[in-house]
């Protein structure tokens, strides 16, 4: 938290209007699952076989400058040089989140040294039935739970990340939170379904109002023991208590094609350098009310940045954050406010 706060405040004091907080680093698209809701893996084999080199990954992190690096994919643990990539990022004092389905985690744990800079963020889409259905393979939930236990036993930082679609059952999601906290994970991250432009699952994406209703049911009357590894104001946003405009530059994405325009979800083209991405993207074309593709999106990669900008943009924003952190169930009657495009990114990723 301190690192994020320092970074954001420094950017603001320097008058930087747009800056990244989380680099989304996709070193490969190949996965060992074939989830029906995922739009990241539909490529010809020769594209799926492409990997970013460690040097490319480090150069992207250096060029971008974000204090946090999230490594999704594809399945990052498939990458033969992932330990080297992670080691180099940790050496640079980047807070690294390896987003994995955990199928290979237990086998690969020896290759990673526990560090405050390294967190395994485990993809868990619900209780056993929901998760195994979501990933289109039986038994994956149990494998992931076993790997989480082993990673925790070895002293690694472990969080979960959960994507919820409109068929989510709020009561079962709440039970799922109980189970994850009982496992001992450091925190949970949740987000509505991704609105991938090219995902095969277009019809299942949550509409904005349904998203708010769903998350209000899930997060209302929140249990004290639940810990979320994301901005408290972003959770308020998901519940419909606040409105934000998108901050698409908050989570810039780098992969085998280059720097993705404009965000982690949309593919409108690629830039060769981070500067070209920031200077050459028509940012005003994106966000709620500006682009049809963004109409129903409430995903963390665009809106947590806005929530963090709200937190650190003013004393009142900071006060709101403190209030909802200490009293998450006190905001039932708060009127919804709209805050302009964020200027930073989120503390979705806890930093200590």
């Amino acid at each position: 938290m301190y690192t994020v706060a320092k970074y954001v405040l420094t950017q603001q004091l320097r008058g930087v209007r747009r800056y990244p907080l989380v680099l989304m680093l996709e070193p490969l698209f190949r996965c060992n699952l074939a989830c029906a809701g995922c739009g990241k893996i539909q490529y010809p084999d020769h594209i799926l076989d492409k990997h970013l080199t460690p040097e490319q990954c480090w150069a992207a992190a250096d060029e971008c400058g974000a204090p946090i690096v999230s490594i999704p994919g594809g399945e990052p643990l498939i990458h033969p040089r992932m330990p080297e990539i992670v080691h180099g990022l940790v050496e640079r004092k980047k807070y690294v989140y390896v987003c994995t389905n955990a199928i290979l985690l237990e086998r690969k744990l020896d290759e990673y040294t526990p560090s405050k800079y390294l967190t395994f963020s485990i993809h868990m889409d619900g209780l056993r039935d929901e998760h195994d259905l979501a990933v289109c393979r039986d038994g994956v939930y149990e494998v992931a739970v076993k790997a989480i236990r082993e990673a925790l036993r070895r002293g690694h930082r472990v969080t979960t990340n959960t994507t919820l679609f409109d068929d989510a059952n709020p009561e079962r999601v709440r039970r799922f939170f109980d189970e994850m906290m009982a496992l001992g994970v450091e925190g949970m991250m949740i987000s509505p379904g991704y609105s991938y432009q090219k995902a095969p699952d277009q019809k299942n994406f949550l509409k904005r109002n349904r998203t708010r209703e769903l998350f209000a049911k899930i997060l209302g009357n929140r249990k004290r023991g639940w810990r979320f590894n994301q901005s408290p104001l972003f959770l308020e946003f998901l519940m419909g208590r606040r409105d934000y405009q998108c901050t698409p530059w908050g989570n810039p994405t780098y992969n085998v094609f280059g720097w993705q325009k404009p965000c982690y979800l949309l593919q409108d083209g690629y830039a060769t350098t981070f500067k070209e991405l920031m200077d050459g993207t028509e940012w005003d074309r994106y966000g709620t009310g500006r682009n049809e593709k963004c109409a129903d999106c409430m995903v963390h990669c665009g809106y947590e940045a806005s929530a963090v900008a709200d937190t650190f943009g003013s004393w009142s924003g900071f006060g709101r954050t403190v209030k909802v952190t200490l009293m998450p169930n006190a905001g039932e009657s708060v009127k919804r406010e709209t805050v302009g495009a964020g200027r930073g990114e989120a503390d979705r990723y806890s930093v200590r």
Partner: protein, 166 residues
């Protein structure tokens, strides 16, 4: 005129009637008709009435060429680009710069490396590779018979195992 049709699509997320006519006008019919083209799944930019796999664009104007490149950019399979020099390149089109004095496309050839090709060098674009996003929707998954789902999951698992990823 045709650029505005594309703009409508970009705003609304669906091809305009004009653009559908345009696509129908400049597309050649598929050389073959693979069985999986009969599936009803659709993608954001390639709904079933404009399914591209197996088809070839032979644009006759810069506007048609720009349309063809946009469709190829959105396509999740390999394409075959025939150049005016007679060269043919099979690969995945991952980027394009449609504006400026010399519009170019970028492609990862199946054989390796990366190629940057000026629009002016393109004679035709064939959607020759499998559309890897077709027929893989969540709805299709849940409506399949249990035995079909199991078989598909087993195939994916066997593929991952064969690659040493499990």
């Amino acid at each position: 005129m045709r650029r505005s049709a594309l703009d409508v699509e970009k705003r609304t997320g669906t091809p305009s009637a004009e653009r559908r006519r345009l696509i129908a006008d400049i597309l050649e019919p598929p050389a073959a008709h693979p069985a999986h083209l009969d599936m009803t799944d659709s993608k954001y930019h390639t709904p079933e009435h404009t399914r591209l796999e197996g088809r070839t664009f032979r644009p006759s104007t810069p506007a048609e060429l720009a349309e063809a490149v946009e469709l190829a950019f959105d396509y999740r399979g390999d394409i075959t680009v025939a150049l005016t020099s007679g060269e043919r390149i099979v690969g995945y089109l991952f980027n394009r710069e449609a504006t400026g004095p010399r519009p170019t496309l970028q492609l990862y050839p199946e054989s390796g490396g990366m190629r940057q090709i000026a629009y002016a060098e393109v004679a035709s674009i064939a959607f020759s590779g499998e559309d890897t996003a077709s027929g893989k929707s969540w709805e299709a998954w849940v409506t399949k018979k249990e035995s079909e789902r199991r078989a598909e999951a087993q195939r994916a698992e066997a593929d991952a195992r064969a690659r040493g990823h499990l």
